[in-house]
């Protein structure tokens, strides 16, 4: 992420020099969510947020904290199993969205004879395999090229916490830095699983740790705490354990 963030408001015209120049092989500029192209050469924003550009991919998008999750192929999500049909589990990503299908065979090492048994309302960490406008999204728990699970699969124990979609993206970003998690993680062990559908699963081994970490993440999210705020919160969290 760029060191200086550009804040944009809806309707702003993005200056040419703010857009990536396309140094790599990709010549055409890709516009992500929140940006709109008005021919011939004008790019305007449709939402308020920060402008994020990627020179290597020649792409630009507006990062904003939207309210509702819409599935995209490749997103890591935490799904709740609703029931089992002939070949799929019917899963819910959020209570508002239509159900998604998770095939019985889309688990690591699953065959027709050894299909996983998931009772209703259990949690699964999975990847969105395909999502279209007119069909229900399809989920998978294996990497199609290797056939390995790579950390995906049913989630055991722990507790689920709701966070905003922006926070989920922030936690999933490749170089995400959350001072809270670093400081707390140095003292106590816990495991977090972030779903892009605005859910985070925390397992700290016991009730106190799980709750402290989960509520800490929610607080950072709700109060938009900066680094110093997070360190202070982390100290409070550690004191409460």
């Amino acid at each position: 992420m760029a060191s200086a963030l550009t804040v944009v408001l809806p309707g702003d015209v993005v200056a040419q020099d703010a857009l990536p120049t396309g140094t790599g092989k990709k010549k055409t500029l890709t516009l992500g969510p929140g940006l709109r192209h008005i021919p011939p050469n004008t790019v305007t924003t449709t939402v308020a947020g920060t402008l994020v550009t990627d020179n290597r991919k020649n792409a630009a998008l507006v990062e904003y904290n939207s309210g509702r999750y819409t599935p995209f192929a490749g997103d890591l999500v935490i799904a709740t199993v609703n029931g089992s049909a002939a070949e799929n589990f019917n899963c819910l990503l959020t209570p508002e969205t239509p159900p998604a299908a998770l095939p019985h065979l889309a688990f690591e090492g699953a065959t027709k004879k050894t299909r996983p048994q998931l009772p209703p309302n259990s949690l699964v960490y999975c990847r969105v395999a395909s999502a279209g406008k007119d069909q229900p999204p399809e989920l998978t728990c294996v990497d199609p090229s290797t056939g390995k699970g790579e950390g995906l699969g049913p989630l055991k124990g722990g507790m689920l916490f709701k966070i905003s979609l922006g926070m989920a993206r922030r936690l999933l970003a490749p170089k995400s830095e959350l001072a809270l998690l670093d400081v707390v993680g140095a003292k106590v062990g816990f495991e977090i699983t972030v779903g892009r559908n605005g859910l985070v699963h925390v397992d700290g081994g016991n009730v106190r740790t799980t709750l402290a970490v989960g509520r800490g993440i929610q607080e950072v999210d709700q109060k938009a705490l900066g680094e110093s705020g997070q360190r202070k919160l982390a100290a409070d969290v550690l004191k409460s354990l």
Binding site: T80, P95, N121, G157, G158, M159, L160, H201, V207, L211
Partner: protein, 299 residues
């Protein structure tokens, strides 16, 4: 019937485990309400209650109708609940969920049948004209505790409401507009409020003001309605868990304490609102009971 998205197994187990260790998800003690906010609208009779993330708006409106033939001396009072689909994906207009049926039934029992409102005072001309009062309860956001929040909203709105004054001359009644005569408050006999207790672990653990996650895990609930004088208006129990009679007695004691706090809070908010509407107590000058000074008519 639309169903609420069920809570996952992991969350269910975690909540139970935490309760056994005497911990609630939001860090509250077992017998503590979430933060309560009450605001009144510009108009009389609009109350907006926020209990944690739950939000309920009650609105009172009045109309003139012919009274029911078997109750000639009574006005009409009706409570209508509406669950907005905005509050939760499980709510649909026109298809009531169980929660909605229970809510309207409890409000009916708690407020209407406990005679909180003196319906006789709504009569204008016996057998011919009376006021029909309607309380609309809108659930705007749902995070548990709907019954408690709705009851507070209706009671606060009723206390805040002013009905137009009437002038009766024989068989003729004239409704006086707000400009002609200051509208008058309703005659409220007592202020019943609900406190919901949620039971867990076969009645071993009970919580006050459960949020939506705790509501989904609970085994049963006991709703106690009482006024600040400690008079119980109704007790309802839903769900299968058995409740020890002695525990129930304890619940009524807690309920009384909560109801006293809430009544005080509502009264305080009403006073604040009144002060805002009536700066420097000018309204008191309008009263007909004031001593008259012999005005000197010029000319």
């Amino acid at each position: 019937m639309p169903r609420e998205a069920e809570i996952s197994i992991n969350e269910r187990e975690f909540i139970k485990q935490a309760l056994q260790e005497q911990i609630r998800l939001d860090g509250r003690a077992f017998d503590v309400f979430r933060s309560l906010e009450l605001t009144f609208g510009e108009e009389y009779g609009v109350a907006d209650v926020q209990l944690g993330k739950t939000r309920v708006i009650a609105r009172i409106s009045v109309d003139v109708v012919t009274p029911a033939p078997e109750r000639k001396f009574d006005g009409i009072f009706q409570i209508v609940t509406e669950f907005s689909p905005m509050a939760s994906p499980a709510f649909e207009i026109g298809r009531p969920t169980d929660a909605e049926v229970i809510l309207s039934r409890i409000l009916e029992k708690a407020i209407r049948r406990s005679n909180a409102l003196d319906t006789e005072s709504l009569c204008i001309i016996a057998g011919q004209k009376c006021f029909a009062l309607r309380a609309d309860v809108h659930i705007i956001d749902h995070d548990g505790g709907l019954i408690d929040a709705s009851c507070i909203a209706v009671i606060a709105a009723l206390q805040h409401f002013r009905r137009p004054d009437v002038q009766v001359e024989g068989e003729k009644a004239i409704i006086l507009s707000v400009r002609e005569r200051e509208p008058i408050p309703l005659s409220i006999l007592h202020q019943p409020l609900c406190v919901t207790f949620s039971y867990f672990e076969e009645g071993e653990i009970y919580l006050v003001d459960a949020n939506v996650a705790e509501e989904q895990v609970r085994q049963g609930q006991v709703i106690i309605t009482m006024n600040k004088h400690g008079e119980i208006c109704q007790i309802a129990k839903y769900g299968g868990a058995t409740v020890n009679p002695l525990a129930l007695l304890n619940c009524t004691n807690i309920a009384l304490e909560k109801v006293k706090q809430m009544s005080k809070f509502i009264q305080q908010k009403l006073d604040e609102d009144n002060k805002k509407r009536n700066p420097k107590g000018l309204m008191n000058e309008l009263s007909a009971e004031n001593a008259r000074e012999n005005a000197v008519i010029p000319g």
